[in-house]
Amino acid sequence: MIKAILIFNNHGKPRLSKFYEHYNEDTEQQIIRETFHLVSKRDENVCNFLEGGMLIGGSDYKLIYRHYATLYFVFCVDSSESELGILDLIQVFVETLDKCFENVCELDLIFHVDKVHNILAEMVMGGMVLETNMNEIITQVDAQNKMEKSETFIFQSTRQDR
C-alpha cells in the first residue's frame, strides 16, 4: 500500500500532497516538512530509499523518492510494495506528466495542481497501484479532458491562461 504521495520543491514548498490515510491539516504539513528535511539533506548520488519518517508510517514504511531538477517526488509505502517497482512508477508518473503538459516544469504543477491530481488518480487509487501503463493512463486522462472541454466551452478562454 502507498500511504502518501508528496511532491515538493527544493525549498520544501508543497506542490502536491495526496494522503491515502486521514491526517488533519496540521499533521499533514508537519509530515511534509519532516519528509522534506529527511530527503533534502541527502546527496544526489545516494540511494533513493529512506527509513525513519517519525510521523508517517513506522518500521514497516519506507520513503521512496526521486529528485527531478527542482522537484522531489516522494512516495511513502509499506513493505508490500516493491522498492524498485515504486521507483519505476515514479518515473512513469513523471513521464506521464511530461506528456500531458508537454515538457513539464514546476510552474505547470504550481498552476495546475488539479490536473496533476487527475493524472495521479489514473495511476494510484486509494493507495493501490491502478495502472502502470503510460499509454493507458494518457488515453484515459485525455478522454476525460475532452469531456470536460465539451462541457465548459464557454470558459475556455479564462481557463487556458497559465
Binding site: 500500500m1 508543497p14 502536491l16 500532497s17 495526496k18 491515502y20 486521514h22 488533519n24 491539516e25 496540521d26 499533514e28 504539513q29 541527502r42 546527496d43 548520488n45 545516494v46 540511494c47 533513493n48 530509499f49 529512506l50 527509513e51 508490500s80 516493491s82 522498492e83 524498485l84 517497482g85 521507483l87 519505476d88 504550481i110 498552476f111 495546475h112 495542481v113 488539479d114 491530481h117 487527475n118 488518480a121 487509487m125 486509494g126 493507495g127 493501490m128 497501484v129 491502478l130 495502472e131 502502470t132 501503463n133 493507458e136 484515459q140 478522454a143 476525460q144 469531456m147 470536460e148 462541457e151 465548459t152 464557454i154 470558459f155 479564462t158 481557463r159 491562461d161 497559465r162
Partner: protein, 1062 residues
C-alpha cells in the same frame, strides 16, 4: 432562468480561478496569510451563490488551500453540492475536494450515499470512475456497507476501466466492512483470470494485500497464483505474486519446494532488477521455511548470495541498499553463507550513504562470532569516533551493544573488555543512550559474578571522574551511567579498593546537580558503602577512622535533605538520622557494623522483564473479587477527605520511625524472609541458579585469571579496550598450545559454569574458551510462565477483522455456506438490469432447479443427504484423522442425518454456489504433493479432460438406476478406507474418484430434468472461477472414467460435467 445562468457565467468571469489564486499568493509573499484569509472570505461569498460553476471554482480553490495547510472542513456541504452536479467537470472537482478533506468523522458523508450510488451506475464510465476514485479515499463503514453491492456489480462491468477500479476499491470496502469479504470473494477470485491485464493486476493487488495480513486463508489459491506466475509476463503482477508467495511459504513448506524451480528460472532469465530482487527475496523466504539439511538447496542459497553480491557491488546505490536488505534475511537462517562476504559488508560500513551504512550495521549483528567480535567492535568504535551526526552515532552505539549482548552475551569471551568498551562509550557527548549503557553495566555486573571486582573498580573511577560526564548539563543523556556506577559501587562495595574515597566522591556537592533519580541512588548507595566501610574499620583497633566516616556522612547528607526531589529528600533524611544514631553508639564504643551491614544483606537476583506479568494467577484466587465489602458510593465520598488528613499526619513524624533500633530491623527482616519463604507466590531465587553458585565454589578461583593482572586497571578515562584485543590473541594462542592439558578442566568448567550458555556458533568456536569462566545468571521467571509472548500484537489492527476463512466459500455447502445474513445488503429499489451478486444468482438459479427437484423422487433427496454426509465426514476425517472412527460411525451418521435434514432447505439454496469438490483442501494437498507437476498444469488438465471428455448418457442412466444403493456402498467403503487413510494414499484417490463419479451421476440427474438447466449452468460457469485443475490428471488416469468416456455429449453438457467434477 436562462438569464440567471448567463448572469452567473458573467459573474464567474470576474471571479478568481485557481490560477489567479496561485498567482496572487505568489505575489503576496510578505503577507501571504493575510492575502489567503481575504481569498477565503471571497470563497465563502462565492459558495453562497446559486451558480454551480461558481461553487465549483470556489471548491477547486479550497482544495489548493487545503494542500497549503488550511482547514476547509467548513465547506464540506458545498463540496457535496459540487459532487452532485450533473456535469463531469464539476463532479470531478467535487470528488477531488472530498477525497482530499473528507474522513470518517465528516458528518456530511452520510448525505452522499445516494449520490455516489447514482454516479456508480451512471452510463458515463468517467462519472463512475471519478466516484470510485473519490470513494476509495473517504469510504466509511456505512458507505462500505451501503455500497458494497453496487461496487460488486461493477466488478463485472463491461468496461475494463470500471472493472479494475471496482476490483481495487473492494479492498477498502473489505477493510471498512469485513462482512462483505465472504460474499464478494468468489467474484474477486474470478477476476484473477480476467481477460484485461489491468483488471487482473488489480485483482492480484487486492488479494495480495488481503493475503499479506492473513495468509493462511489464501493458501488454497496457491495453485491459481502458481499458474499466473508461470504464465504472466507483466512484471508488476509477477512481483506482487512472488511477494505473496513469500508470505505463503512459511505456512506450507511443500509450496516452497514447488516454487524453487520456477523462481530460480526467473532469476536466471529476467532482466528486470525489480523482479530479480523479489525472486531472490522469495527464494530466501522459501529457504527459511524449509527445514535445513536439504542438500540440493545449498545451491539455491549460493545463487541468492551470489546475485545479492552482484547487487551490493553495483554502483547503483539503490541496488546496493536492497542487496544488503535481502542479505540480512538470509543471515537469520544461513549465517555462514553471508559471513563469507564479510569483507564486502565491512566495506559498506564506510559508504557515504547513511541508509547503506545502517543496513550494513544490521548485517554485522549476525556476522559476529567469538573469534571476530573484538575485531568488529574495534572497527565500529573507530566509526563512532568518526561519526559526526548524532543519529548515526547513536545508531552505532546501540548496534555495538546489541551485537555484544546478543543471545545472552554468547560471543563475549572477555567481559573486562566489554566493560572497558562500555566505559569508553560513556565518553560520547550528547548521546541519548546513556540509559542503555547504564543498563548494560548493571546487567553485566549483576549477572557475571566474576567480573564484579573489575567492574567495581571501573565504576569507582567513573564516579571519581563524574565531572567529566556532567560538565555540561545540556548533554545529560550520558549521566545516566552514573546511576549504574553508583549502584554497582554500593551493591558490590566489598570489592572496592578504596571505599572511603569512593564514598567521598559520591557525596560531593556537585552531585546535587544531577537528576533526582540519580541522586537518590547516590544517597542510598552511600549508605551501603558506609556499612561496608564500618565493617572494615571496626576490625581495626583505631576507632577514630570509623567515627570520621560517620562524621563525613553527617556533614554531607544535609545537602541532600534539602533536595527538591522528594525521593532524594526522603532517603537522605532517613539515612542521616540513622547515621546520627550510629555515631552516638560509636561514641559509646558499641560495635554496630554487623547490624548496619545487615540492612543491606542478601543477594539480588536478576528478574526477567516480564516476570511479574507471567506469575500465574493461583487457583481459587479471583483478582476481581472484593476483599472487603465494597464501600457504598455515598460513604466513600464522605470519608475520603478525612482519610487523607489522617494519613497525612504520620508522614510528618516519619523520621522517628527510622530510629527503630537495628535489632528490631533485623528481626523484621528475618521475619519477612521467613514469610517470603513460606509464601508460595513470592518469586524466589530458583533453586537451580542457587545450586550453581554453591557447586562452583568460588568461580574466581578458576585459573584463567592470571592474564588480567597484566592489564593496567587504573587508567582513568583512557581507552583500554584495544589492549584486550591483543591480549586476547595471545591468550588464544597460549590456550591452543595448552589445549590438550586443559581438556579435562574445561569439561569440568562447562559443567559447572557454562551450562546455561547457548551452544556456540557453527565455527570451531568451541576452541575459544572465555577468559573468565563466566557464570551468566539467567533471569528469573515464575515456574509456569511461558517464554513466548503474545502481547505484542496490536489489538487495533483493522486487518484482524478480515481474518475470515474463505475456503468454505469454495467448497459448497457442507462446511459453512453463505448464510442469508451474510449477503450484502441490497437496497430495496434496485436499478433494473443490474447484474446480481453470486449469492442472488444462486437463488435465481435455484428457482429453475426447484421444479425438477420436486419432481424427482425421494431417492434424490436421500442421495443429496448422503453426499452431504460424505463431505462432512471427509472433512471431519481430515481434521481428526481418527482411527477409531468406525466405532463412532453409527452415532455420527445418525446425528448427521438429522442435521442434513435440517439443512436441506439451506443446501438447496446454496446448491448453485461456486461448486468445487469437498476435497478442496486435499486438492491443494494433492497439488503440492505431486512433485513433478508440469508448470503448465492447465494444459495437462485439458489433455486429461479431453480424454475424459464425453459424459455418456447410458452410464448415467444406469447409474441413476443404481443410485439408491450406491451411496451406501461408498459409505462403507469409505469408512473402511478411512482406517488406512494415512498409509494408503492410493486408496484415498480411488475414493475421491468414486465421489466424483457419484457427483457425475448426480448432476446428470439434474440434466435429466431439463435441457434449459444445463444452459443455466453454462452461464454460471462463466461467473464461477475454476478451481485448480490438478484433479483432472487424476481423472485421466482413472480407468473407470476412461471406460465410460466413449460416449458423446453436447458441448453444453460437457461444460457442466467439468464444473461438477471440480
Amino acid at each position: 432562468m436562462a438569464l440567471k445562468i448567463v448572469k452567473g457565467s458573467i459573474d464567474r468571469m470576474f471571479d478568481k480561478n485557481l490560477q489567479d489564486l496561485v498567482r496572487g499568493i505568489r505575489n503576496h509573499k510578505e503577507d501571504e496569510a493575510k492575502y489567503i484569509s481575504t481569498c477565503i472570505d471571497e470563497i465563502k461569498q462565492e459558495l453562497k451563490q446559486d451558480n454551480i460553476a461558481v461553487k465549483a471554482n470556489a471548491v477547486c480553490k479550497l482544495t489548493y488551500l487545503q494542500m497549503l495547510g488550511y482547514d476547509v472542513s467548513w465547506a464540506a456541504f458545498n463540496i457535496v453540492e459540487v459532487m452532485s452536479s450533473s456535469k463531469f467537470t464539476y463532479k470531478r472537482i467535487g470528488y477531488l475536494a472530498a477525497s482530499q478533506c473528507f474522513h470518517e468523522n465528516t458528518d456530511v458523508i452520510m448525505l452522499t450515499t445516494n449520490q455516489i450510488r447514482k454516479d456508480l451506475s451512471s452510463p458515463n464510465q468517467y462519472d463512475t470512475g471519478v466516484a470510485l476514485t473519490g470513494l476509495s479515499c473517504f469510504v466509511t463503514p456505512d458507505l462500505a456497507r451501503d455500497l458494497a453491492n453496487d461496487i460488486m456489480t461493477l466488478m463485472s462491468h463491461t468496461k475494463p476501466y470500471i472493472r479494475k477500479k471496482a476490483v481495487l476499491i473492494m479492498y477498502k470496502v473489505f477493510l471498512k466492512y469485513p462482512e462483505s469479504l465472504r460474499p464478494a470473494f468468489p467474484r474477486l477470485k474470478e477476476k484473477l483470470e480476467d481477460p484485461d491485464p489491468g483488471v487482473q493486476s488489480a485483482a492480484v493487488n487486492v488479494i495480495c494485500e488481503l493475503a499479506r495480513r492473513n495468509p493462511k486463508n489464501y493458501l488454497s489459491l496457491a495453485p491459481l497464483f502458481f499458474k499466473l506466475m508461470t504464465s504472466s509476463t507483466n512484471n508488476w503482477v509477477l512481483i506482487k505474486i512472488i511477494k505473496l508467495f513469500g508470505a505463503l511459504t512459511p505456512l506450507e513448506p511443500r509450496l516452497g519446494k514447488k516454487l524453487i524451480e520456477p523462481l530460480t528460472n526467473l532469476i536466471h532469465s529476467t532482466s528486470a532488477m525489480s523482479l530479480l530482487y523479489e525472486c531472490v527475496n522469495t527464494v530466501i523466504a522459501v529457504l527459511i521455511s524449509l527445514s535445513s539439511g536439504m542438500p540440493n538447496h545449498s545451491a539455491s542459497i549460493q545463487l541468492c548470495v551470489q546475485k545479492l553480491r552482484i547487487l551490493i557491488e553495483d554502483s547503483d546505490q539503490n541496488l546496493k541498499y536492497l542487496g544488503l536488505l535481502a542479505m540480512s534475511k538470509i543471515l537469520k537462517t544461513h549465517p555462514k553463507s553471508v559471513q563469507s562476504h564479510k569483507d564486502l559488508i565491512l566495506q559498506c560500513l564506510d559508504d557515504k550513504d547513511e541508509s547503506i551504512r545502517l543496513r550494513a550495521l544490521d548485517l554485522l549483528y549476525g556476522m559476529v562470532s567469538k573469534k571476530n567480535l573484538m575485531e568488529i567492535v574495534k572497527k565500529l568504535m573507530i566509526h563512532v569516533d568518526k561519526a559526526e551526526g548524532t543519529t548515526y552515532r547513536d545508531e552505532l552505539l546501540t548496534k555495538i551493544i546489541d551485537i555484544c549482548s546478543q543471545s545472552n552475551y554468547q560471543y563475549i569471551t572477555n567481559f573486562e573488555w566489554y566493560i572497558s568498551i562500555l566505559v569508553e562509550l560513556t565518553r560520547l557527548e550528547g548521546t541519548r543512550h546513556g540509559h542503555l549503557i547504564a543498563s548494560q553495566m548493571l546487567d553485566v555486573a549483576i549477572r557475571v559474578k566474576a567480573i564484579r571486582v573489575f567492574a567495581v573498580a571501573q565504576m569507582a573511577t567513573l564516579l571519581d571522574n563524574a565531572h567529566l560526564l556532567t560538565g555540561n548539563m545540556q548533554r545529560n543523556g550520558i549521566c545516566e551511567v552514573l546511576y549504574a556506577a553508583a549502584w554497582i559501587c554500593g551493591e558490590f562495595s566489598e570489592h572496592l579498593e578504596n571505599p572511603v574515597q569512593t564514598l567521598e566522591a559520591m557525596l560531593r556537592p556537585k552531585v546535587a546537580t544531577l537528576p533526582g533519580h540519580i541522586q537518590a541512588v547516590y544517597v542510598q548507595n552511600a549508605a551501603k558503602l558506609f556499612a561496608t566501610i564500618l565493617k572494615n574499620q571496626e576490625g581495626n583497633t583505631d576507632s577514630t577512622a570509623a567515627q570520621e566516616t560517620s562524621q563525613m556522612m553527617i556533614d554531607r547528607l544535609p545537602l541532600f535533605v534539602q533536595s527538591a526531589n522528594l525521593e532524594v529528600q526522603e532517603r537522605a533524611s532517613c539515612i542521616l538520622q540513622l547515621v546520627k544514631y550510629i555515631q552516638k553508639l560509636q561514641q559509646k564504643d558499641v560495635e554496630v557494623a554487623e547490624e548496619v551491614s545487615a540492612l543491606f544483606a542478601g543477594e539480588l537476583n536478576p528478574v526477567a522483564p516480564k516476570a511479574q506479568k507471567k506469575v500465574p494467577v493461583p487457583e481459587g484466587l479471583d483478582l476481581d473479587a472484593w476483599i472487603n465489602e465494597p464501600p457504598s458510593e455515598s460513604e466513600s465520598e464522605d470519608e475520603q477527605p478525612k482519610a487523607i488528613f489522617t494519613k497525612e499526619e504520620p508522614k510528618h513524624s516519619r523520621p522517628r520511625h527510622t530510629e527503630v533500633d537495628e535489632k528490631e530491623l533485623a528481626r523484621r527482616r528475618e521475619a519477612r524472609k521467613q514469610e517470603q519463604a513460606n509464601n508460595p507466590f513470592y518469586i524466589k531465587a530458583s533453586p537451580s541458579s542457587q545450586k550453581v553458585y554453591q557447586e562452583a565454589p568460588g568461580v574466581e578461583h578458576i585459573p584463567v585469571v592470571q592474564i588480567d593482572l597484566s592489564v593496567p586497571l587504573k587508567v582513568p578515562g583512557l581507552p583500554m579496550s584495544d589492549q584486550y584485543v591483543k591480549l586476547e590473541e595471545e591468550r588464544r594462542q597460549k590456550e591452543r598450545a595448552e589445549k590438550k592439558k586443559k581438556e579435562k578442566k574445561k569439561r569440568k568448567e562447562k559443567r559447572s559454569g557454562r551450562g546455561k550458555k547457548h551452544d556456540s556458533g557453527p565455527e570451531s568456536e568451541e576452541d575459544i574458551t572465555p577468559a573468565h569462566v563466566v557464570d551468566i545468571v539467567t533471569e528469573e521467571m515464575p515456574e509456569n510462565a511461558l517464554p513466548s509472548d503474545d502481547d505484542d500484537k496490536d489489538p487495533n489492527d483493522p486487518h484482524k477483522a478480515l481474518d475470515i476463512d474463505l475456503d468454505n466459500l469454495l467448497e459448497t455447502t457442507a462446511r459453512r455456506p453463505l448464510a442469508d445474513s451474510e449477503k450484502l445488503p441490497v437496497r430495496s429499489h434496485r436499478a433494473a438490469g443490474a447484474p446480481k451478486s453470486p449469492a442472488e444468482d444462486g437463488e435465481a438459479e435455484n428457482a429453475t432447479p426447484q421444479e425438477p427437484k420436486k419432481k424427482s423422487s425421494k431417492e434424490k433427496r436421500d442421495k443429496k443427504k448422503d453426499k452431504e454426509r460424505d463431505r462432512k465426514r471427509s472433512k471431519e476425517e481430515k481434521k481428526k484423522k481418527k482411527h477409531k472412527r468406525e466405532e463412532k460411525e453409527e452415532d455420527l451418521l445418525g446425528g448427521q442425518a438429522e442435521e442434513a435434514a435440517v439443512q436441506s432447505e439451506e443446501t438447496k439454496e446454496v446448491e448453485a454456489q461456486p461448486s468445487s469438490t469437498s476435497a478442496e483442501v486435499s486438492d491443494l494437498d494433492f497439488w503440492l504433493s505431486n512433485a513433478p507437476v508440469p508448470s503448465n498444469t492447465q494444459e495437462a488438465a485439458t489433455v486429461a479432460a479431453a480424454e475424459a471428455d464425453p459424459a455418456p448418457e447410458a452410464p448415467a442412466g444406469t447409474a441413476a438406476d443404481s443410485e439408491p444403493e450406491e451411496p451406501k456402498d461408498t459409505e462403507t467403503e469409505e469408512s473402511k478406507s478411512s482406517k488406512h487413510k494415512k498409509k494408503k494414499q492410493k486408496k484415498e484417490k480411488e475414493e475421491k474418484e468414486k465421489k466424483k463419479k457419484k457427483k457425475h451421476h448426480h448432476h446428470h440427474h439434474h440434466s435429466d430434468g431439463g435441457g434449459e438447466e444445463s444452459v443455466q449452468n453454462g452461464t454460471v460457469e462463466e461467473e464461477e472461477p475454476l478451481p485448480p485443475m490438478s484433479n483432472y490428471c487424476l481423472l485421466a488416469e482413472n480407468s473407470y472414467i476412461k471406460m465410460v468416456s466413449d460416449g458423446d455429449c453436447d458441448a453444453r453438457l460437457w461444460k457442466f460435467v467439468l464444473l461438477s467434477i471440480c
